[in-house]
């Protein structure tokens, strides 16, 4: 059995970012630190837990992006993935979810994965799309916001519970192979073990060069980037820490809360 996990690299914090106006682009400052998208950590953990249940299972981790994303693929190996795949896209431009999913689909199509996992969304673009688009491109069923999955290999299905508004869960089974996007809190992502860290250091990543023309690259464009309206309707308390503490107590008194 083969599982593919899509992992995205995101900046650890938005503090180190700035905006380039023309062309509209995010600039990552020198102080930027990159890490794995948290939702993808839950997806990877779910794949590793599944491998513990089915010993014939292998887990591949794939990421689309420039050279720097290799550290995130390596992190996936450190957590326990068997193989890391890097789809190298050097462009500093915005890569639409359709384009990203197309590149992954191109790679995955001929490799007969039984299960493809991704995070429910990426913390940077917040698009909630790659898993669903990938599924459509590969002609596979898909469930999003998954909080529980149980594979039935005899039947060739997976039972899933997807979280909806208010924390309720929608239950369904879908046919394998399938794509699931994972919601946070489904499991507890593990820390890398020493043996996996050592293995990850030695192991080569598979590097895939994208085709000259990517499908779906230009279907949506970012025409501008901006900061949200600066004006907060709120009142910022001024002065020393003690001044602010007294200000807060005064406000709580004014509202008869203290």
């Amino acid at each position: 059995m083969k599982i593919l996990v899509c992992v995205k690299q995101v900046p650890d914090s938005a503090e180190t970012l700035s905006i380039n106006d023309a062309p509209p682009r995010i600039i990552y400052g020198d102080a930027s630190v990159f890490r794995m998208n948290r939702y993808d950590e839950f997806a990877l953990e779910e794949a590793l837990l599944t491998r513990e249940r089915f010993p014939d299972c292998t887990v591949d981790a794939v990421s689309v992006g420039p050279q720097r994303v290799r550290s995130t693929i390596r992190k996936a190996l450190e957590m326990g993935a068997d193989q890391g795949i890097h789809i190298l896209v050097e462009s500093g431009e915005y890569v639409s979810p359709l384009a990203r999913a197309s590149l992954i689909a191109e790679y995955a199509r001929s490799r007969s994965y039984d299960l493809v996992l991704a995070g429910i969304m990426a913390e940077d673009d917040m698009e909630f799309q790659v898993g669903q688009v990938l599924a459509e491109l590969m002609g596979l069923p898909c469930a999003t916001s998954v909080m529980l999955q149980e594979m039935d290999r005899m039947r060739g299905t997976v039972y899933v519970e997807r979280e909806i508004e208010g924390g309720d869960r929608e239950c369904l089974t879908i046919a394998l192979p399938a794509v699931l996007t994972i919601q946070s809190g489904m499991n507890t992502p593990r820390y890398p073990s020493l043996s996996n860290v050592l293995r990850a250091r030695r192991q080569d990543l598979v590097t895939i060069d994208p085709p000259q023309r990517w499908p779906g690259r230009e279907t949506q464009l970012i025409t501008a980037l901006s900061y949200p309206d600066a004006g907060s309707p709120g009142n910022f308390l001024e002065g020393s820490t003690v001044d602010k503490a007294r200000g807060l107590i005064r406000i709580l008194h004014e509202h008869s809360l203290l």
């Binding site: 938005a14 909630f128 669903q132 208010g166 929608e170 949506q220 509202h255």
Partner: protein, 320 residues
């Protein structure tokens, strides 16, 4: 001027999801000449919902009926919507960005070979505005195709006021919903998790900015200053296991509206805001002056909570 837009109505237990009406307001702002609402399900619910939609919005409604549309499934929705819009060339399909909406919208767009633009919260000169990086940056996005699928962020538009006058016609059509790879099995309700939010005058709520579970005593001490208080948390804090999920406030947790909400080390993600933005007074403590939480707070305090909260408690005990 955009020609034709569709709004996909979403519903649960025979009731229209309120986000559907927000999507209607969004569609109105697109200025389309022609609007159609689609609602999918079984009889008799679809007919009731279609009438309600037509009466409230004054927009023509098509109700699509198939036996296997009793429960939501992405597969059935995608296939049914594709056949319903066949032969038309809509500028946009507007879908609420809810757990059902984002489940099928990107796949539907891909099948239609058009882009999907998700979690849209504003419009500007023909571009859709959406947030990046937890609301720190806004992107203006434009489809380069004549058609697109858009998911509309809950809370970004207000539901329209009910229209006067006679409701337009409602059309009910039989549909053929594909259901080959999915078996929907129904809903499991969230476990009861009342921890006194309803009775609390003040909710002191904690985010990842607390840094470590050891610091939770600060939150408990602050909450103890108030006669009727409860402790809330972001999903991040619950995922880390620092507090139980019963404390989670937000779109997938509890929705609260206390007299005062004190957000400590909470960035203000949209899914959190949707569960607390109707609190009467919102106080936010955060080290980052640009944190999104400050955009909904009436009292903004840029401080490290681990040093600030002890000072507040100290100052208060000195006074009383």
């Amino acid at each position: 001027m955009y020609t034709h837009v569709y709004i996909i109505a979403l519903h649960a237990q025979g009731k229209i999801a309120p986000e559907t009406y927000e999507a209607v307001s969004f569609a109105r702002d697109l200025g389309a000449e022609k609007k159609t609402i689609l609602v999918l399900g079984t009889l008799p619910q679809v007919e009731h919902m279609a009438r309600e939609l037509a009466e409230r919005t004054g927009i023509a409604v098509t109700g699509a009926v198939a036996e296997n549309l009793g429960h939501y499934s992405a597969e059935a929705y995608k296939s049914t919507i594709r056949t319903l819009i066949e032969g038309t060339s809509p500028f946009a399909l507007c879908i609420p960005h809810t757990a059902a909406g984002y489940d099928f919208a990107p796949g539907l767009a891909t099948a239609l070979e058009v882009p999907c633009i998700t979690a849209v919260e504003g419009l500007s000169e023909g571009s859709f505005i959406r947030s990046l990086f937890g609301g720190k940056i806004r992107a203006h996005v434009k489809p380069s195709t004549p058609s697109c699928v858009v998911t509309v962020l809950p809370g970004a538009w207000q539901a329209p006021a009910a229209t006067q006058g006679s409701a337009p016609d409602v059309t009910i059509v039989p549909a053929e919903a594909r259901q080959e790879t999915t078996v929907p099995l129904g809903l499991k309700r969230a476990a009861a998790r009342d921890i006194g939010f309803a009775d609390a005058e003040v909710i002191v709520s904690v985010g990842r900015g607390i840094g470590s579970p050891q610091n939770l005593s600060l939150i408990r001490d602050l909450a103890a200053l108030f006669p009727k208080s409860a402790i809330g948390a972001t999903r991040a804090v619950c995922d880390l296991g620092w507090l139980g999920y019963r404390h989670q406030i937000g779109s997938t947790g509890t929705t609260v509206s206390p007299r005062a909400y004190i957000a400590c080390g909470i960035s203000g993600a949209i899914q959190h805001l949707s569960g607390m933005r109707n609190s009467q007074v919102i106080i936010a403590i955060n080290t980052d002056p640009h944190a999104a939480i400050f955009r909904v707070a009436s009292c903004c305090i840029v401080e490290d909570l681990t040093t600030f909260i002890p000072v507040v408690i100290d100052e208060y005990t000195k006074r009383s």
